[in-house]
Symmetry: C2
Subunit: 198 residues, 2 copies
Amino acid sequence: MPENRTRYAVLGALTVEPMSGYDLKRFFEQGVSFFWTESYGQIYPILKQLKIEGLVVDAGEKTEAATRTGVPAHPRRAVYTVTPAGREALARWLAEPAEPQGGRRLEILLKLFFARQGGDRAAESARRLVADFRANHAALLATYTATEARLRAEHAAHPDLPFWLLTLSYGEHVSRALVAWCDAAGRTLAAPPTPPAP
Amino acid sequence: MPENRTRYAVLGALTVEPMSGYDLKRFFEQGVSFFWTESYGQIYPILKQLKIEGLVVDAGEKTEAATRTGVPAHPRRAVYTVTPAGREALARWLAEPAEPQGGRRLEILLKLFFARQGGDRAAESARRLVADFRANHAALLATYTATEARLRAEHAAHPDLPFWLLTLSYGEHVSRALVAWCDAAGRTLAAPPTPPAP
DNA sequence: TAGCCCATGTAATTGGTTACATGATTGA
DNA sequence: TCAATCATGTAACCAATTACATGGGCTA
């Protein structure tokens, strides 16, 4: 029973900066997508709910035009801010122990586990599986280092920075380990060498 | 769109050995639980479906008693075997590339990312978070090495063994890396040392 | 004025777990 | 004969994604 982690993800994101639902989506997909994602189908309903519960408030932004002309236009977008009650709820959740694991379904391992059933091409497709996976994590490593540099430059003084770097470091550790695993696996799966020329 | 991986998990498991739904549950939770799980609510419906599609057949086992007495008792349990068509379906799936990643929601990183919002106790609960996580992966490492030894001993000749060992190796690489990350994180989060006695 | 983001939302569907109901078999 | 385990299944629920509908604002 994961118990509503989306609400805390949203609450947490709004402590970084007040945001609209649209902003939240981008925050998740551009900022923390390597360990967390959210879809509109989650975000908007949860925002409505959090507002009802008084954990966030909506400081509706006026449009430029509406401000200028005084037209009583409905706010162009809803910008949500965490209330003290929201901060407390978040703090309570943060103090609880985390679910032991996330991501109990690793498709690549399932395929590898049964790889021999792949017939003639079994070894070949296993190697391709591993090679793709390696490329993936090598690419991730590059993004981690780039992100780290950007964060250190742009948010050098941000009090949350040390924690953000910790999450990046997690990603780096895992991806480095997985690249190493891919290399080892590649050797294991290597096609039997063609007989050496005489 | 993860697209029905359960059917292939079940199909694959049945290539290892014909099994009942009950057996399958145990196979997943005792054999491969570190990278895959299935619940009854998935297993039984999918078995019914696979049977309809002709990918598995049910060689119903008779009870001992029924065999002895000739009573037309209904089979005690349904034991499923993969058909050639089932093997083909599995092989096709194995040849497809795997989903890039599994487990996009790492609760511990979400908590760590927002950890500073935890108030006074922020650093403390972050440290506990990391410590629990470390204990977890240290324990996992132990089970991996134990499982590896057992597999090598009990299934030395099994043609699937090299692939099984690869999945274990994945786990070892990741858990070792995460233990190392926890140690580094622990140092980062270390409480400011109490002022040294004069 | 067309095309592209910005922005909000919902309905349908999927994938999965949990909890429960039911009953047979086995062994103490 | 009681408890544990084997065994099959389903209904309710939950979390989450996808696809769609809708429309405002900005700029080339």
